[in-house]
Amino acid sequence: MKALLLAAFLALTPIAAQAVQPDEVLPDPALEGRAREISKDLRCLVCQNQSIDDSNAPLARDLRVLVRERLTAGDSNDQVVHYVTDRYGDYVLLRPPFKATTLFLWIGPFVILAIGAIGTALYLRGRKGAAVAAGGDTAPLTEDERRRLDALLRKEDA
């Protein structure tokens, strides 16, 4: 039973795709770690929703090698990312930067949430106001209304 469970578990566990080839890996684990970190945030331009870290496209490989070369040459993480965005634009960043052109992208959802919250608040207040305006307690029935109500009640009894 245990073995069966384990087998099922293993079968259902997605195996992490390894695109980084052994010959690309840097001997220095610290540098390699930084390279992995950077490449996870860089978009592969051929298969656009993958990062270069998990894409098998030849261009992704070239860019991974490039990232490692820049790091070995002593670039900081930011400098490496700059080097790539200078050539391919902000589009290669899987996390879009926060700037004027992407302002709506970043704050749009919050703006819409705020509009919704304000709208709801106004609506609820309006409803409460309407109830108060109606006299809090219901206004007494007029003579005419009382007669119609009596008639209806009598009909029900009959």
Binding site: P58, R87, Y88, Y91
Partner: protein, 178 residues
């Protein structure tokens, strides 16, 4: 009148729907180039066998030049080749090539079979220079002005329509400008 406010979410939804629907028309492969209006990268490529000259940044100054990135293994390159050839042979545009990640003998053979419209071809064996140009898929074509600045980029094959409607007017304009 007050009721109309209840139509607002519907109108909003329709608006967003239309915006997304129009988005289908856009080609996701068409990525805005980061290099438009920037000088060409600093580079020098050796000549492909059979050509006297390769390609380097100083060569792109002085004349309006079309730089075409191609490879013998690239099918769309073959499709666009007649368009490139016409630009070079009939319309008198200086066309220079970057041969992207190709085997030399394959590239030479390909040019012999399909015709060679290039004034010079630089061989980019490891694709490194092409990365400096922001190439992410062949074919790509760049229009460089007299000052050596990139003014236009086409990703994917050049079509007669792009040539007529965008490229030729731009070449005319750039030639007149300086």
């Amino acid at each position: 009148m007050r009721r109309l406010i209840f139509l607002l979410p519907l109108l909003l939804f329709v608006g967003v729907g239309v915006a997304f629907f129009l988005g289908f028309e856009r080609d996701p492969r068409d990525i805005p180039s980061a290099l438009i209006d920037k000088p060409v990268p600093d580079f020098a490529l050796p000549a492909l066998a059979g050509h006297k000259e390769g390609l380097s940044s100083p060569m792109l100054k002085g004349d309006v030049t079309l730089v075409n990135v191609f490879a013998s293994w690239c099918i769309p390159c073959k499709a666009e080749h007649p368009v490139i050839t016409r630009l070079s042979k009939e319309l008198g545009v200086t066309v220079r090539g970057i041969n992207y990640k190709d085997k030399t003998e394959d590239a030479v053979d390909w040019l012999r079979r399909n015709g060679d419209p290039y004034a010079s071809v630089g061989a980019d064996l490891d694709g490194r220079v092409s990365i400096d140009w922001g190439v992410y898929g062949v074919p790509e074509t760049y229009l460089v002005d007299r000052q050596g600045r990139i003014r236009f980029k086409q990703v994917g094959p050049l079509t007669p329509q792009v040539v007529e409607e965008q490229l030729l007017p731009m070449i005319k304009h750039l030639r007149a400008a300086s």
